[in-house]
Structures are given as structure tokens and as C-alpha cells.
Symmetry: C2
Subunit: 144 residues, 2 copies
DNA sequence: GTCGTTGTCTTGAATCATTCAGGTTAAGCG
DNA sequence: CGCTTAACCTGAATGATTCAAGACAACGAC
């Protein structure tokens, strides 16, 4: 099982998602995939390091489009700006450090696609489960 | 099992949490408990309806203090402002409507305190699990 | 290869929730 | 009845995100 299923190449992924292939978007997509739950500012600065100038709006729009297309996933731990990750499609969750904000992936153990359905859906048509574990990461739990 | 365990009365709850008892804070606490995942603006306007004038900062500070004291719980579904609820201490989760933003409580079925621990804690000291189910509420799934 | 459509990118301003600052009021203990 | 300090007030600032409107360029059609 591959980490995430990346078809042929990023360019064709964009195309088959109905998006145009531009240097900026390729760099944004690769940056998100190469990074670890990056926020918009970090994505932007890394992309700028590669390409020169790219506007914040271009990054926001691209990330929004990618999220809608299912190419990336957006997470937003309470109190922190939105973060993006390349791992999509597998039902995994997150550990978030209350001190430093670090985010770490956790696989869900309870079976294959656990936590995917609430006990009682109250009539809702549920399409996603978002599980966040809050605590203190190895580095930050020292001083406790 | 009671819905939520409310000791003697709100005033003594505040006191035993080390907080002073003021008309504003009593009204804020009761408003949150009587409401359904209210945001700060709604809490403020309801409290104002009762008491006359109360500043936003007073409400923010009170809600922050209550949250720290464990009297209320703060949730923050991605993309929406913070919301507060009076149900605390029982491990329950939330259904959030993608269209209207409505939030509904769900009890966790998988045992008593489920989803409380991740499969692999990656060295984190986990103290809370935050589970949000995204979907379409009964009212909003009609047009689909 | 050229053209046209429209998705993408740019600059600049605006919005919204939340927080910070500093000073005033009043809860509750001695 | 004072004192200490939590609580509250007004007003301004911050930071992430979005809106607006025009310029540019990807890519399918010709």
C-alpha cells in the first residue's frame, strides 16, 4: 500500500481534476505533499523560494481548489490557522500539541475505517469524520 | 445519569472554581447552558437582553475563564467562529452541517469512553479527543 | 500556428473573530 | 469598613482570510 496514491504525475493529476497546469500550482501541490501539515504562510514562502514571486491569493485559491478536488486535505485545529496535508483518502487522524502546535498523523486502529460513523447520525448525511487528539508532544511534555 | 452534573447552583459553582460571582457571569453561564453551541456574538446578545449592557470583552474573558475551569466546553468547527456548550465531562462528539453550520451532539457508542485514545500516541500525552462528523443536516440534505 | 475563452494570478482593500492595553469598578476577604 | 485584585469598560490592534477588478496565460478549437 502506497502512502498516498499519486497517479501518473502531478501535472496530469491537476488536469484530470479539471484544473490548469501552472508552475505555481505544481509547486504548491508538491510543497504541501513534501511538507508536514503546513500552514498557508509556510506554503507560500516555500513556493516563493522555488519560483520567485507568488501572491498569497494565488496560494489561497490553489489550496482551496485542491481541497475541493480532493488532492489535499485541509485541517484546522482550534486556535491555529488552517493547515494542509497531502495524505488524503485514507482515514487518518491527528495528534496536536497544545504547546507547540505540532501535528502528527495517527492511523485509526479500530478496524479499517473506524470512527467514520457516529452512533446516531441524528438524520445527518455524514461524509467525513474529523478526529483530533489534544495533548503534549514528546518535546513539550518534559517540563510537566 | 444526569445530563451534566450541575452542583448546588451556578453561583457556588463559580465560587468553587475560584471565580467571583457577578450578574454578568451568572447570565453568561446560564445562557451557554441554556443554548445550543452558541457563538460569542449570540451569547453576548442574549446576555444583553437580560442585563442591559455587557461588553464583548467581558463575555470573551468569562468564557475563557469558564473553559479553563471546566465549566463550559469550547468547540471550533473549521471555518466557523468558536462555539460554547454547557455539556462537559461526558465524552460526546459533534455532528456539524456543512450548509447551515448547525451543531448536534452525538454520544459515543463504542463503549464508555471511546475514541479517547489513539492507536499509537506517538509519544504524546493525550488528554482530550475531539471528534467532529461533517455532513448535511436533515433540513439541508433536501435539495441534494 | 493563431485565436478566444476562461481559469489563474496580481495588487490593494476589506472583513471578521479575537486579543491587547490601560484605566475604572466592585466582589469578597480580613 | 477598607484593601486587594478579579472583573469590567472603552477603544485600538492584530492576523487569517476573503472580496474586487483588472491583467495574464493555459489549452482546446480552428
Amino acid at each position: 500500500m502506497k502512502d498516498t496514491d499519486h497517479p501518473p504525475n502531478p501535472a496530469s493529476e491537476l488536469r484530470s481534476a479539471g484544473l490548469r497546469v501552472t508552475a505555481a500550482r505544481l509547486a504548491i501541490l508538491e510543497t504541501v505533499r513534501g511538507g508536514n501539515h503546513l500552514d498557508v504562510e509556510t506554503v507560500t514562502s516555500r513556493v516563493r523560494g522555488r519560483l520567485g514571486h507568488v501572491s498569497f491569493q494565488a496560494v489561497y485559491e490553489a489550496l482551496h481548489a485542491f481541497t475541493a478536488a480532493g488532492l489535499v486535505r485541509r485541517i484546522e485545529p482550534a486556535g491555529s490557522p488552517a493547515r494542509f496535508e497531502g495524505r488524503v483518502g485514507d482515514n487518518h487522524h491527528h495528534l496536536v500539541c497544545r504547546v507547540c502546535g505540532r501535528v502528527t498523523d495517527v492511523n485509526c486502529t479500530v478496524g479499517e475505517a473506524p470512527c467514520l460513523e457516529p452512533a446516531d447520525d441524528a438524520g445527518y448525511l455524514v461524509d467525513e469524520a474529523d478526529v483530533t487528539f489534544w495533548g503534549f508532544c514528546p518535546d513539550c511534555r518534559q517540563g510537566s
